[in-house]
C-alpha cells in the first residue's frame, strides 16, 4: 500500500523519540479513529438535516392561529436555549430513555428500543432546531411586504414570489446565524461522549486507554478538531461573503 511509508515513519519516530502515534501505524487504532471521525461527521450531518426540518416546522407552527401551539413552540425554544446541552442529553437518555419500551434481543436480553447514537441525534437535533426556529422566523419577517408587492405587480404568483424573492432573501439574512448554529452543533457533538456514543472523542479516549499514549492522541485530537472546525468556519464565511447582499452591511 502506498501509505506504508507513513506507517514505517511513525514506527521509526516512536523508536527514536518515544512519541507513540499508534493511530498512524497500528491498523486497529487507525480504524477506530477513522470510525470515530466518520461517526462525528455522520452525527453532525443527521443533526443538521433534522434541526433544519425542526426549524422549518417550528417557524411554521409559530405562525399558527392557535395560542397553545405558539406557546408550546415557545416553551420548546426556551427549554433548549436556556439549559446546558449536557443536561438535555442526560434528560433524553436517562429520563425519557427509561420510559421507552424495551425489546428482547437474540441473546434473550432486554434491550432499549433506541440506542445511544439515536438519543444523541434526537437530543442534539432538538437543541440546534430550537435556534433554527427563531432564525427562520426572523428571516421571513425580514422581507418587507413592499418587496412582495413589487413581485406581485410584476405578475409573480404566490408560489413564485416565495421561490424567487422571499426565500432567497430570507436565506441570505439567515445564513450567518445558521452558520453559527452549525459550527456550534459540530462542537457540541463531542458531548455525545457522555452517553458513550462512539464519536471521535470517545474513540480517541479508547485509543489512549488501550495504547497508553495519552499526550499523543490527545494532542492529535485537539488539533484535528481545531482543524476541522476551522475549515468549516472558513468555508461558511466564504459562503456568506458570496451570498452577501451587495451594498449592504459589511
Amino acid at each position: 500500500m502506498e501509505w506504508s511509508w507513513a506507517f514505517d515513519w511513525a514506527r521509526e519516530f516512536y523508536r527514536e523519540t518515544g512519541i507513540n502515534l499508534t493511530f498512524v501505524y497500528d491498523s486497529f487504532d487507525r480504524d477506530r479513529l477513522a470510525r470515530g471521525f466518520m461517526n462525528t461527521v455522520y452525527l453532525s450531518l443527521i443533526c443538521l438535516v433534522l434541526s433544519v426540518l425542526i426549524g422549518i416546522a417550528g417557524a411554521w407552527l409559530q405562525g399558527s392561529k392557535l395560542v397553545w401551539t405558539r406557546r408550546i413552540v415557545q416553551g420548546y425554544i426556551q427549554f433548549f436555549r436556556n439549559t446546558p446541552p449536557l443536561v438535555q442529553l442526560y434528560f433524553f437518555f436517562f429520563a425519557v430513555g427509561s420510559l421507552m419500551p424495551t425489546y428482547e434481543n437474540r441473546f434473550g436480553m432486554q434491550e432499549p428500543m433506541l440506542d445511544n447514537f439515536t438519543w444523541a441525534v434526537i437530543s442534539l437535533s432538538f437543541f440546534a432546531g430550537a435556534f433554527n426556529v427563531e432564525i427562520f422566523r426572523s428571516g421571513i419577517e425580514a422581507v418587507p411586504t413592499s418587496t412582495v408587492e413589487a413581485a406581485e405587480s410584476l405578475g409573480y404568483n404566490r408560489l413564485q414570489t416565495y421561490r424567487y424573492i422571499v426565500l432567497p432573501l430570507a436565506f441570505r439574512v439567515c445564513l450567518p446565524a445558521l452558520n453559527n448554529n452549525l459550527v456550534n452543533l459540530v462542537k457540541t457533538t463531542t458531548l455525545a461522549y457522555a452517553i458513550a456514543v462512539p464519536e471521535m472523542l470517545y474513540m480517541a479516549n479508547q485509543i489512549w486507554s488501550d495504547s497508553v499514549n495519552v499526550p499523543e492522541t490527545m494532542t492529535f485530537l485537539l488539533f484535528a478538531y481545531v482543524f476541522l472546525v476551522g475549515l468549516l468556519v472558513w468555508a461558511m464565511h466564504s459562503w456568506e461573503r458570496a451570498m452577501r447582499l451587495p451594498g449592504y452591511g459589511r
Binding site: S146, A150, S153, L154, G155, N157, Q160, Y164, P168, G247
Partner: protein, 248 residues
C-alpha cells in the same frame, strides 16, 4: 364587450376601499384615455397610493368597479398575470430585489413569469437600461446604486413586461433633489413616446408640465380635476386652493 382603443384604457367608477374602519377611498371615479398622462395630486393620506394599488389588484376594493382595457380588475376570475402584463408599477421605495443585479432585476419577471426567451429578454433589458441612462450599470447590485439609479432600474423593470399603462406611485418622494431630475426626465420621455402614465406625485411643476389631466384628491374623494392650465390658474374648490397655496 370588446375593448377598443378609443375607450378609456383605465376606468374607475365609484371605487370604495376601507382598511378596517378607515375608509380610504369614498367613491372615486376617473378615466384614463390611451396615451394620456394623468397626475393625481393631493395631501398625504388622501388615498392616492391606495388607488394605484387597487388598479394593479394589489389590494381588493370594497365596491365600485375598475377596468383596464375593458376588463374588470376585481373580478375573482381575473387572470392577474394578464392584468399585470398590461399594467406596470413603480413604487416610492423602488422595491428592487437586492439579491439580483440591475440586469437580473429587469430580466427576472419576463423570464420566470412570462417564460420568454432568455437571450431575447436580455437584449431587451440592455436596451431598456440604456433607455433609462444606466448603460454600464447592468451588473451593479441595487445596494451599489444611488436612489435615483435604483428608481430608474425599477422603471426599466416595469417596462420589460411591455405594459400598456404605467403607474408611478410617488416615485421621487424618497429621492434627494439632485436625483429627482434624472428620474423625471425618464418619465417625461416615456410620456412623450405615447405611454399611458398615471402618476401620483408631489412634483407640482412636473405635473403642470407633462400632465394632460390633473386630479386633486382629498380625504378619499376627487375634489377637482382639469387640464393643468385651468387647474393651476383657476382652482374653484377651497380645499384645492388651500393645498395649492401651501405648495406653490
Amino acid at each position: 364587450m370588446a375593448w377598443t382603443p378609443d375607450q378609456p384604457i383605465v376606468s374607475c367608477k365609484e371605487v370604495h376601499k376601507a382598511f378596517g374602519a378607515v375608509e380610504v377611498l369614498k367613491g372615486v371615479s376617473l378615466d384614463v384615455a390611451k396615451g394620456e398622462t394623468i397626475c393625481v395630486i393631493g395631501p398625504s393620506g388622501s388615498g392616492k397610493s391606495t388607488l394605484l394599488r387597487c388598479i394593479n389588484a394589489l389590494v381588493p376594493i370594497n365596491s365600485g368597479s375598475i377596468t383596464v382595457e375593458g376588463q374588470e380588475v376585481h373580478d375573482p376570475k381575473l387572470d392577474k398575470l394578464a392584468l399585470r402584463r398590461k399594467v406596470g408599477m413603480v413604487f416610492q421605495q423602488y422595491n428592487l430585489f437586492p439579491h439580483k443585479s440591475a440586469l437580473q432585476n429587469v430580466m427576472m419577471a419576463p423570464v420566470t413569469v412570462l417564460k420568454q426567451d432568455k437571450a431575447e429578454v436580455e437584449q431587451r433589458a440592455y436596451r431598456l437600461l440604456k433607455k433609462v441612462r444606466l448603460e454600464g450599470k447592468e451588473q451593479a447590485y441595487p445596494g451599489e446604486l444611488s436612489g435615483g439609479q435604483q428608481q430608474r432600474v425599477a422603471i426599466a423593470r416595469a417596462l420589460a413586461m411591455n405594459p400598456d399603462v404605467m403607474l408611478f406611485d410617488e416615485v421621487t418622494a424618497a429621492l434627494d433633489p439632485e436625483t429627482v431630475k434624472e428620474v423625471l426626465l425618464t418619465i417625461r420621455e416615456l410620456a412623450e413616446e405615447g405611454m399611458t402614465c398615471l402618476l401620483v406625485t408631489h412634483e407640482m411643476g412636473f405635473a403642470r408640465e407633462i400632465a394632460d389631466m390633473i386630479y386633486f384628491t382629498d380625504r378619499g374623494v376627487i375634489v377637482e380635476s382639469g387640464p393643468p392650465k385651468d387647474f393651476f390658474a383657476s382652482a374653484k374648490d377651497p380645499r384645492t386652493k388651500e393645498f395649492l397655496s401651501q405648495i406653490l
